[in-house]
Structures are given as structure tokens and as C-alpha cells.
């Protein structure tokens, strides 16, 4: 199934979709308020983007420096070319230490590598300890959002999942009660864990240390309970100096949820007494993305999720419709680079409105890259006529700077001038479900302007 077909399924539950849409837009608004409160916000974004671009252009040196400094501090560094190597390395560390019980905090990389099923097949128990990830784990699903993994679940659904798995009493989905029940359960898991796996938000070449950010405290509860801490990182997580954290940490949480900083920003430099600390550096397609000039900057991503919260398609199609580890606008750039055939519909899951690029804290030109993928895909993969026509129009707008600049957003142009069948064609499942329900007085333009004000 392609994105549009999956989106259609998600759109069957109108009330849920509306809630999803609004909830994410609310997060986007909180992001705006937080960003506007920072003097020099745009300078921060420029710097973050510039630092990431610099790192990528010198990545080999930074990787070597990082490894050397980490080793000096007693951290063991491992290198994995792909997901399989990554999983094997993690399993070997666990096996060498006879570790059977693992607690894991949020790490999109381990999702990308499908680490959980691999370890489970080796007889290891893995418990996801971020509440949202715990919910999707017991539901046997995958996260639908990189920051809000269970955003697609209603509280009633969580209630019945917890009744089944934790033996809770029915509470009509009382979030406080459910959260505290999960806390009790997870606390026991932390304290009996043999090893903890965490992600890495930033790794610092200069010091060989790394930073993990959470609101729940689950990464720390795991990493400081167990004697073995394995931190898995994509190679693009490196930054040159610790002082650069000042820039990235100011951007990350504000962009993600509108908080001024996450509750915990934990700086790991040395293993604790009688403990081991391991870092697994993973490529898994990243050096290939590095070679693609047009898509290289997608490696700047700090996984804040802002592009998802703001995306009109994501909000109305849900993360699972992308059928990729990283959904939303950034996922639609990253995924085709990994498997073009499987993910060829993703770059079309966008109105090219540019809202993603506007909010991205590291200034990735997301919508332009989506458009570039479309060009490549239409060359490579046979497209139905209708999609080609839309593409042509989109192309026209984007290739004419005047038009683009004037309209501000190509989508406005398309929605305004494209015949109805073009906009609400098969490939726009989200459009179909929306069948212009909110146009007052039959004036589309007015409706659109009103929407833009909100």
C-alpha cells in the first residue's frame, strides 16, 4: 500500500483524525511561542545549520577524534556499517556479560535497525521505557511520531492495553492514573535490568562525551540502574565542541514541544563505578546520503519532530501511513534514499507548502528536497497521468521564482488554479476525505485565507 491508501484508512475515523490534526497543531503553536521568546532565534538556526554542514564536510576526522576522546574516558566504541552489524554488536555486548534483561529509552536508530525483534529472537527481554514507546510496544505497533510515539492512540485504547498488560482497573483513560501505573511497572524493570540501551542526541568530538535528552527521566533511570550502558548513535549526531550544545539544546526542545529545554539533558562522559559504557556508531545508509548533494543536508536533522507537527499532510494522515521508521516530511526525504521502490509515494505526501522548512531548527530545505525526489521518481518509476500533471504544475511554480515568491507557497497556487480533479485526485487521500467541507460561501480563496490566519 502506498501512502495515500494508508492515509485513507487513517481518515476513516473522522473524529480521531480531527483530534490528531488539532493536537499536533497545538504543539506547533507552542513551538512558535517558545521560539519567539528567544532573542537571536534565527541566528541560532543559522549556526546550527552551519555547524552541521561543517561536521558533515569533516565527518571522518570528527569521528576519529570522538572515538579517541571517548576511549580516553573509559568508553568502548564500536562501529557498525549497517543495521545487521549494529544488532550483532549490541547482542554481543549483552551476551559477553550474560545480560538477559534490557531497558531501552527512545532511540529512533534502534527502531531503524529493528533491534528489538533481533534481541528478542536471542532470548533477551527488551522493555521500551519511554511511556509512549511502552504503549506502542505492548500494542505491538511502531511509533507514529518521533517525539510523540503514541500520538495515534486514544486514552481509552491505552486504558484497555494497560488492563490487559498491567492489570489496571478500568479508568476511562485517566492519564494520571495510567501514567503512574506505568511508572510502578517500569521502576521494577529498571531496577532488575542487566543493561540499558539509550539513544544519543548529541555526541561531542572534543570531549568524547554524549548527551541524552528526555522529559520522563527514563534514559537516566535505565543507564544508572544497570551496570552496562549501550548508547547507539547515527554517525551524524556528532558536533565539534561542547560549547555547541548551547546552540542545539536551545533549539531542540523549543522546536519539539515548545518547552524551553527538556526536563533532563544528561551529559555522559565516563562510565560509573563498576559499570561499562559502550557507544555504537552506525552508518546504515548515512554515508550514501552524504554522497547525494541534493539530499545531504537531511543529515542535519536533530529529530525534533517540528516538521511533522506543522505538516498538513502528516497531521491528517498519521505517522503510520508513511510506513517508515521516520515519518513525516523529513522521513519522506530519508526513506526513499534507503528504498526507492518501497517509499516512492512518500515525496508526494506533501503539499510543498514549505511549512516544514520554515520551522526546521537546522534549516533543512525539506520541501525543496521533496520536490527533487519527485523529479527523480517520475524519471525512475512509472507514474499515473494525473500525478504527472500535478507534478508539472508544481514544477512550473517552483521553477518560476517570481510566481513562487509571489504566491509564497506553491500549494496556494495549485489549490487556487488547479482544476478540482487535480487536487482531489486519488493520490490525495487527505484531500478526498476533506472534500472541501469547510468552505463557507463557496469561496475557496476566502476559506484558505481564513485557514492561514488560524
Amino acid at each position: 500500500m502506498n501512502h495515500a491508501q494508508k492515509a485513507e484508512i487513517f481518515n476513516k475515523d473522522e473524529a480521531k483524525v480531527n483530534w490528531h490534526d488539532k493536537a499536533l497543531w497545538y504543539v506547533r503553536e507552542k513551538r512558535d511561542t517558545a521560539a519567539h521568546g528567544v532573542k537571536g532565534w534565527e541566528h541560532l538556526r543559522d549556526l546550527a545549520s552551519g555547524i552541521k554542514a561543517h561536521v558533515l564536510s569533516n565527518l571522518d576526522e570528527y569521528l576519529i577524534t570522538f572515538e579517541k576522546n571517548a576511549q580516553k574516558n573509559g568508553i568502548t566504541v564500536h562501529w557498525a556499517s549497517n543495521a545487521e552489524e549494529h544488532n550483532k554488536i549490541v547482542n554481543k555486548i549483552l551476551a559477553d556479560n550474560n545480560a538477559k534483561k534490557v531497558v531501552k529509552s527512545k532511540s529512533m536508530l534502534t527502531e531503524e535497525c529493528h533491534l528489538n525483534p533481533y534481541l528478542e529472537s536471542k532470548g533477551i527481554e527488551v522493555v521500551d521505557t519511554d511511556l509512549g514507546e511502552y504503549i506502542v510496544q505492548i500494542a505491538k505497533e511502531t511509533p507514529s511520531h518521533i517525539v510523540l510515539p503514541a500520538i495515534h492512540k486514544t486514552k481509552e485504547e491505552v486504558d484497555s492495553l494497560f488492563q490487559e498488560h498491567l492489570g489496571t482497573t478500568p479508568s476511562n483513560g485517566n492519564p494520571e492514573y495510567l501514567t503512574h501505573e506505568a511508572r510502578k511497572h517500569l521502576r521494577a524493570k529498571f531496577l532488575e535490568a542487566d543493561a540499558a540501551i539509550t539513544g544519543v542526541n548529541f555526541a561531542i568530538a572534543e570531549t568524547g562525551g554524549f548527551v541524552v535528552c528526555t522529559n520522563e527521566g527514563n534514559a537516566d533511570m535505565g543507564a544508572h540502574s544497570a551496570k552496562i550502558h549501550i548508547a547507539c548513535m547515527g554517525m551524524e549526531k556528532l558536533i565539534p565542541k561542547e560549547a555547541h550544545l548551547g546552540i542545539f539544546l536551545r533549539l531542540l526542545a523549543r522546536s519539539a514541544t515548545g518547552q524551553p529545554i527538556t526536563t533532563y539533558s544528561s551529559h555522559f562522559n565516563k562510565p560509573g563505578p563498576e559499570s561499562q559504557m559502550h557507544i555504537v556508531i552506525v552508518d546504515n545508509g548515512r554515508t550514501e546520503q552524504l554522497s547525494r548533494e541534493d539530499f545531504r543536508s537531511s543529515l542535519h536533522c536533530i529529530r525534533c519532530g517540528a516538521c511533522m507537527n506543522t505538516c498538513p499532510i502528516y497531521r491528517r494522515s498519521g505517522g503510520h501511513s508513511y510506513d517508515a521508521t521516520i515519518p513525516g516530511p523529513i522521513g519522506s526525504i530519508l526513506s526513499p534514499g534507503k528504498d526507492l521502490t518501497k517509499h516512492s509515494s512518500l515525496p508526494f505526501a506533501s503539499t510543498l507548502c514549505g511549512s516544514c522548512s520554515n520551522v526546521c531548527p537546522v534549516k533543512i530545505n525539506i520541501h525543496e528536497q521533496l520536490y527533487k525526489w519527485r523529479q527523480l521518481i517520475t524519471k525512475d518509476v512509472k507514474q499515473p497521468f494525473i500525478k504527472k500533471t500535478i507534478l508539472k504544475m508544481t514544477g512550473k511554480v517552483l521553477s518560476n521564482p517570481k510566481l513562487y515568491g509571489f504566491g509564497g507557497r506553491s500549494v496556494r497556487f495549485i489549490l487556487k488554479y488547479a482544476p478540482r480533479f487535480l487536487v482531489y485526485s486519488k493520490l490525495n487521500a487527505w484531500g478526498k476525505a476533506r472534500e472541501l467541507p469547510k468552505i463557507k460561501n463557496g469561496n475557496f480563496d476566502q476559506w484558505y485565507k481564513e485557514k492561514r490566519k488560524n
Binding site: G40, I51, W79, L148, H267
Partner: protein, 193 residues
């Protein structure tokens, strides 16, 4: 495994060197009341502020705030209420029942209400997370403007484990309803002296 192959691939695929951008810290400079801003941000992130005129008032304040706390770990040596003593031999499991941990904060950050604490001041790393309630003692004069200043203050430290704590642990993973008290401490009180 992998290392040489990865480095080779990076070298083949990376673009020509792009210089590291210049950071102009003046852009972020503001003349604001640091303490007032800090207090506002701590409240925003769900923490509670208590201002004391002298450190010796701390016991009275703690008894008032946490009348039911039995197992108390004090790492500041400013309270006499500590009931649990810990050392680097203490195991995480031994701390499961800690009601309150009192930890000295190095400095606070006005822009986000975060406080830096590090494991040179608490002998076991899990303490500020596993405790039910966390109380950080901070000197009023030790508040800096933003994270850039914070990392300047941190640049000379002995690096082991340290964390910026901004409020109590929290989650909004169930239908975006904010719940205070996730896996870490259920509350954060900042005592300013």
C-alpha cells in the same frame, strides 16, 4: 568491525570542507533580571521555588514541605534531616524507597529554568532520578543568562556525569495530557538562598 569501511566511505562521499561558522554571542545578549527570569521559568516547567533568607532555615522549610518524608538523603550537609547515608558502594536498588534527595545545584540558567548538578556532588548517579521528591539548593547569585554562558561555566569541569534538570519528570504521551511525575522524580523544589 566496520570502522575502516565507514571512514573510507565518508572520505569518498563528503563534500569539500565547509568552515565552522562564527558564533556571535552578542546576538543573544539581553539585560534582564536573571533571578526573576529564572524563577519564572522554574515555575513554567513545573518546579516550585522557595526562597530562604538563610540556609539554616532549610530544615524548617523541608519539614513543612515534606511532612511525610522518612527516607531522606542529604548531599548538601546543610540539613540535619538526612536519614539515609549513601556512599559510592550504595547500589541503585538500595535507593528505591528514598522519599527526598537534597542536592546542591552548581548554577541555574535564566532562559530555561535548568539547574546543573553533577556526580561530584552526589555519590550515586541515580539519586536525583530515583528519589520521589528532588530538592536542589541553589545560591541566588549563581544564575546565568543562557546556555552559552552555562557551557562557558562548565568548560573547565572534570567531566564524568552531569545533568541539566528543568522541572520534575513529566510526560504527555497519553492524549497529550501533561502528567507530572513520569519515570524520574515526581516533584522538583528549588531552594534559593
Amino acid at each position: 568491525m566496520g570502522k575502516e569501511e565507514i571512514l573510507r566511505s565518508v572520505r569518498k562521499n563528503k563534500p569539500t570542507l565547509i568552515p565552522l561558522p562564527e558564533i556571535n554571542l552578542d546576538t543573544f545578549n539581553e539585560t534582564i533580571d536573571l533571578l526573576a527570569n529564572f524563577k519564572e521559568k522554574v515555575a513554567l516547567v513545573g518546579g516550585t521555588i522557595k526562597e530562604l533568607s538563610a540556609l539554616n532555615e532549610i530544615d524548617r522549610e523541608i519539614t513543612k514541605l515534606f511532612p511525610n518524608a522518612r527516607n531522606i538523603v542529604d548531599c548538601t550537609k546543610s540539613s540535619s534531616l538526612g536519614t539515609v547515608s549513601i556512599s559510592d558502594k550504595t547500589q541503585p536498588q538500595d535507593l528505591e524507597g528514598v522519599d527526598l534527595a537534597i542536592i546542591p545545584g552548581a548554577f541555574g540558567v535564566a532562559e530555561n529554568g535548568a539547574i546543573w548538578i553533577s556526580d561530584d556532588r552526589f555519590p550515586i548517579r541515580i539519586l536525583p532520578f530515583i528519589t520521589k521528591e528532588l530538592l536542589i539548593v541553589l545560591e541566588k547569585k549563581n544564575v546565568c543568562l543562557h546556555l552559552h554562558d552555562a557551557y562557558e561555566l562548565l568548560s573547565k569541569r572534570d567531566r564524568s556525569f552531569g545533568v541539566f534538570v528543568s522541572g520534575p519528570s513529566k510526560t504527555a504521551d497519553i492524549e497529550q495530557c501533561l502528567v507530572i511525575g513520569a519515570q524520574g522524580a515526581l516533584s522538583l523544589t528549588v531552594v534559593l538562598v
